[in-house]
């Protein structure tokens, strides 16, 4: 096969609406267009003129599955603009919010989106309850998701568009009874998470590419603060992160892409485990020893394994935080508005998330910017798809190539709801 025109409309089992267009002539890929296809909702424009208190809940609406990551990132940006230093308890509640999100979001991706490809099925719900292995997977999936959902609801009020986290603290605090139940649920799913790690540790899928892996690295593998580090050895402060990225306008997509120092790079679970696996919870390091020995890895399919390991870390660290202390009501810290720019950088499930808030002295937001993980992985994804297609042309049918492309894209776990809906692009 020397020529190929392949369009995958509305790719299934990813978050959001995406199409892929590929053109091949004379055995060479002319282009790969990974296109966000839903229409923009203009969130960064909508920030203008809003009071700062409204910003976290507004930006949460960029994305359903990542909403709590957007809330935490926006809160950090707003607190930096207002010079608010959150309390130690607030930070622990934010870690727990983040852990609830990681557990339920990674489990959604690994079981509902990826597992059907592993087992040669179309739909996770088609798994057969009468076969012991598939029966176990069905129950594991929904038990893990439910535990993450319970933790999110207990700490943050909801697992989607959380109600309790706010600028300066929390509006509600978890009670003893709920904490006990959360610990019980988290302990109960540990064996299921270990089974999940084993599946992705033993999975023989490979697609290697050398790239620069970037992630926010803190003292504890907690997704929320620290400095951005790369596998090339760079260290970047949160406030300088944006100046290290170059935006690329994609005329065919409702999203845009980013490069770092003119090169493509990757963010997400694989990047985090590659640059910071030593910071994982000690119990995770012990229980996932053989899986962790695989990292650093250049195999994109190990992003799935890295996500499974992050579920275990989230379970372990959340259990430790919840077991170690009581949470007492604290007043929300407030500060008067001032003319300032606030930057928030956190690790969302799919990678490094950046929010900027430009605040006026009247407390009204003048503008802002949002950079999501999927925009940062876009160039890598398109380059990988091109190489995969070129390598498969002589050996695989069009249908097989399409399946391999879908598998590869799912390994990146793109979130198109995030990528499509906020960009403020100036057309030349």
């Amino acid at each position: 096969m020397h020529t190929l025109d392949l369009t995958i409309e509305n790719l299934a089992k990813v978050e959001g609406a995406v199409s892929v267009e590929i053109k091949v002539s004379n055995g060479k890929v002319e282009y790969v267009h990974f296109k966000a296809v839903d229409y923009k909702r203009f969130f960064t424009n909508a920030m203008e003129g809003k009071p700062i208190a409204a910003i976290p809940q507004l930006l949460a609406r960029i994305c359903g599955t990542c909403s709590n990551a957007h809330i935490l990132c926006a809160i950090e940006a707003c607190e930096h603009a207002l010079e608010i230093q959150p309390s130690e308890q607030t930070m622990l509640l934010r870690y727990l919010t983040s852990y609830g999100l990681m557990i339920r979001d990674h489990a959604l991706h690994l079981y509902l989106f990826v597992m059907p490809d592993v087992y040669g099925k179309d739909n996770f719900l088609d798994f057969d309850e009468n076969k012991p292995e598939e029966h176990q997977l069905l129950h594991d999936a929904f038990d893990i998701k439910a535990a993450g959902n319970f933790l999110s609801t207990l700490i943050a009020g909801r697992s989607v568009h959380a109600l309790h986290p706010t600028i300066g603290g929390f509006l509600h605090f978890p009670e003893k009874e709920g904490i006990g139940e959360a610990i019980k649920k988290l302990e109960e799913i540990r064996p299921a998470v270990l089974r999940l790690i084993k599946i992705f540790e033993e999975l023989p899928w490979r697609f290697d590419r050398k790239t620069n892996y970037m992630a926010l690295v803190s003292e504890r593998f907690g997704f929320l603060n620290g400095q951005i580090k790369s596998s090339n050895g760079e260290i970047i402060n949160e406030s300088d992160f944006r100046s290290h990225l170059e935006r690329i306008v994609l005329p065919y997509s409702q999203a845009s892409a980013y490069k770092h120092e003119q090169e493509s790079y990757m963010v997400g679970a694989l990047a985090r485990i590659n640059v910071a696996k030593d910071l994982l919870h000690p119990h995770t390091k012990e229980s996932a020893k053989t899986a962790l020995a695989i990292f650093p890895s250049t195999n994109i399919y190990h992003n799935n394994l890295a996500q499974a390991i992050e579920i275990l870390h989230s379970v372990n660290d959340a259990t430790e935080i919840l077991s170690g202390r009581e949470f007492t009501p604290e007043p929300v810290i407030t500060k008067p508005p001032q003319e300032a720019v606030g930057i928030g950088v956190i690790e969302a499930p799919r990678g490094t998330l950046y929010h900027k808030v430009e605040l006026g002295s009247d407390g009204i937001v003048k503008g802002g910017e949002v950079i999501v993980p999927t925009g940062q992985n876009q160039v890598n994804m398109e380059e990988d798809i091109a190489r995969l297609v070129e390598e498969s042309l002589s050996t695989k049918s069009k249908e097989e190539i399409q399946f391999e492309i879908e598998k590869l894209i799912r390994a990146y776990d793109p979130c198109i709801s995030c990528a499509a809906h906020f960009l403020k692009v100036k057309w030349e």
């Binding site: 923009k40 507004l58 959604l108 568009h161 057309w427």
Partner: protein, 161 residues
């Protein structure tokens, strides 16, 4: 096969939104998946499967606001193929927040003008009921899970009777 035929055919479609109600739907599955697996034929649900079938639905759930003529045409086709159509979540029910540009001031409208034109988006974002007849609504941002379950149970009872 006979059992498969008795299952209610379900479609779940997302237009302009954050897909937060889809996530609530997948979270409700944590408690209801065994019951739903027996009861429903998930015929066109992009979050669950690749081989989606667009023939006919007992219940079509619509998430998101309508932001283009293309979306309006797709929605009309779904309506025509569905016995019951349910709008889920604030964007579908009220057109917001996906339709926040409807309320932009002149300066903000000017900023986005070129993009609206470039991608042939509608000048005004529409809620689902402005395009087709809606049989039931599940409000909330994201949709309220309890109202969703109530609506589903009522429609199942009606369709099975």
């Amino acid at each position: 096969m006979a059992e498969e035929n008795k299952k209610l055919k379900i479609g779940w479609f997302s237009f302009s939104c954050s897909e937060d109600s889809t996530i609530v739907f997948t979270e409700l599955m944590n408690e209801h998946w065994q019951e739903w697996k027996k009861m429903f034929d998930f015929r066109h649900v992009r979050v669950l499967k690749s081989k989606n079938i667009m023939d006919e639905f007992d219940i079509a759930f619509i998430e998101g606001a309508i932001t283009s003529d293309k979306y309006a045409e797709q929605l009309k086709e779904i309506r025509q193929k569905s016995k019951k159509l349910v709008a889920v979540g604030a964007c579908a029910v009220q057109g917001m927040p996906a339709g926040q540009r409807n309320f932009f001031d002149e300066k903000q409208k000017e900023e986005i003008e070129a993009l609206i034109a470039r991608f042939a988006a509608l000048p005004k974002v529409l809620r689902v009921s402005e395009v087709v007849k809606v049989d039931a609504e599940v409000p909330g941002c994201p949709m309220d899970p309890n109202i969703f379950l109530k609506v589903v149970n009522e429609l199942v009872a009606e369709l099975k009777s």
